[in-house]
């Protein structure tokens, strides 16, 4: 009577097994097809550069890119820093700007969503600032903060701030009244209702915002590092252009891509840990 969630009849269990096995096989085949198509693409690319269809001043061959990558692990030439330095500089910048955006933006959005007066107070300013693209802030940032690390982190902050606020705000606003009423009738104070209900209900949306913010932050990096830099992945790309070295540019681009993907992955791990109550179907 009480045991109505887990037990399945044997026939059903068997057919689920067969279905799962079939899906696994299918996904292995798809993986194989993907690998083959990437291999063909790389081969054609290499071939086109080698026989001179593509000028190597415009695009380097994949093997050259791999060589440059290996070289850049230890050799600071030609643009003045090893890859590790660039990565560390860029990561530092993004983590400061992005970290500040999350730490300020999420609580701000949550409170704006919960407290009407706070909402009325902050919303108008926020609505004006919101549609301005982050890179449009670069000139003002230079006037205010110079061209150092602070200015760059500020631009990244702005890029990440907006989605953090909006999603947290929306998450709280969408809290179903019945959950708040459960808290209220249990005798919860206004703050306890926020802390034990709205904040938790908003968490999945907060994480969506925090993910979007990470993407924004990371992609604003190149623009931010256009401000006089001496290291960083954005700087590396810029230098690659000045030195007419497409291999350097591509190594920089790929590094940006891979690190972005890693950060996104780590964040989604954290999300799965914190929001483990969310149903995934």
């Amino acid at each position: 009577m009480s045991n109505n969630t887990t037990k399945l009849p044997d026939g059903v269990a068997d057919s689920i097994k067969i279905e799962v096995a079939a899906r696994k096989k299918e996904s292995r085949q798809l993986l194989l097809i993907s690998i083959i198509s990437v291999a063909i693409f790389l081969f054609l690319w290499e071939f086109a550069v080698r026989i001179g269809w593509i000028d190597s001043k415009h695009l380097s061959a994949p093997t050259t890119i791999v060589e440059t990558f290996i070289m850049k692990l230890s050799d600071p030439n030609p643009e003045g820093g090893v890859l590790g330095t660039h990565i560390a500089t860029s990561l530092g910048l993004v983590l400061v700007g992005y970290g500040a955006a999350v730490v300020i933006g999420v609580p701000l959005g949550l409170l704006m969503g919960y407290y009407h007066t706070f909402d009325k107070l902050v919303s108008p300013i926020f609505e004006i600032v919101r549609p301005i693209p982050p890179i449009a802030w670069i000139p003002l940032s230079i006037i205010w903060l110079g061209i150092g690390t602070t200015a760059k982190a500020f631009i990244i902050f702005l890029a990440a701030f907006v989605p953090c606020v909006i999603n947290s705000y929306t998450g709280v606003k969408l809290t179903p009244a019945v959950y708040l009423n459960v808290a209220k009738t249990s005798g919860a104070s206004t703050w306890e209702m926020f802390w034990t209900v709205s904040k938790n209900y908003a968490m999945p949306l907060v994480f969506t915002g925090v993910q979007v913010a990470l993407g924004n932050a990371w992609s604003t990096l190149v623009a931010a590092e256009m401000l006089a830099a001496i290291a960083g992945l954005g700087y590396m790309i810029q230098q690659g252009r000045l030195l007419a070295r497409p291999d350097i540019i591509i190594v920089g681009m790929l590094t940006i891509g891979v690190i972005g993907a890693i950060l996104t992955f780590l964040l989604s791990k954290l999300e799965n840990h914190i929001v483990k109550w969310r149903s995934r179907s």
């Binding site: 969630t5 009423n181 306890e192 109550w277 149903s279």
Partner: protein
């Protein structure tokens, strides 16, 4: 039952939403430890009445006293099982049951003991760490009912808690709620559309009229438990209530 103390006193309660009169001068008492069912047509103001009791909304006129004082969820221990599913999806079964106790800042030992008691009364041991999305609707509702009883509330309000459930699960949960009521000695106010359910559960049934709601009848159900729906006396009382509401 005669000389028991009065738990809830409803005096001339009236509620309007703008021009819409929903409750019209309703007065009655509920005794301590009593199990009262309220039946009434759809949209007559049952949920509104419970919302007034818990101060989710304010009355237009009249007052509600609990133990002689104006009802106040901060002061009185009131639990509410809402009409719609209300287990917190971010808490496990056990954490949901603990919720009210934690809000009331009961001592840790009491929270643990009370939660264990409810979990074992409801047979939820295997599911204590499950989240609502991993449960069936009826399982979730049991958690919600457990959460409500865990507070040992002075007053437990249940708003059609079994509305969504099939008949088998309904019978089972009806027995369960009676068991919890007996075990905890709470005062229960249970709203339902189902007259058989009301006759099965209640010591007293309040029949409401169409909107604006007034009390149409007050029927004592003095049957021994466990009750049998096939018992002639049971059938007689159910028919009596049915007669009261022919005009629905």
């Amino acid at each position: 039952m005669e000389n028991q103390e009065i738990k809830v006193q409803v005096n001339h309660l009236t509620k309007r939403f703008g021009d819409l009169l929903v409750l019209d001068d309703v007065s009655f008492n509920i005794k301590k430890g009593e199990f009262v069912c309220i039946v009434g047509p759809t949209g007559c103001g049952k949920t509104t009445f419970l919302n007034l009791l818990t101060r989710l909304i304010e009355p237009t006129e009249g007052e509600i006293l609990i133990d002689g004082e104006p009802a106040d969820p901060k002061k009185h221990s009131i639990s509410f099982v809402f009409q719609e599913p209300s287990a917190f999806p971010w808490l496990t079964a056990q954490q949901n049951i603990e919720y009210g106790l934690k809000i009331k800042k009961r001592p840790a030992e009491e929270i643990a003991a009370q939660t264990e008691k409810i979990i074992s009364l409801l047979g939820l041991e295997k599911y204590r760490h499950a989240y609502p999305h991993e449960m069936s609707v009826s399982m979730e509702q049991r958690v919600v009912i457990g959460r409500a009883f865990a507070l040992n509330p002075d007053l437990l309000l249940m708003d059609e808690p079994y509305g969504q459930m099939d008949i088998k699960m309904r019978y089972y949960l009806e027995d369960e709620v009676v068991r919890l009521w007996k075990a905890t000695g709470s005062t229960v106010l249970f709203i339902t559309h189902n007259l058989e359910e009301a006759t099965y559960l209640a010591e007293r049934v309040l029949v409401l009229t169409n909107k604006p709601a007034k009390i149409k009848a007050n029927i004592e159900v003095d049957l021994p438990r466990p009750r049998k729906v096939s018992d002639p006396e049971f059938i007689r009382i159910r028919k009596e209530i049915t007669e009261m509401i022919k005009w629905w």
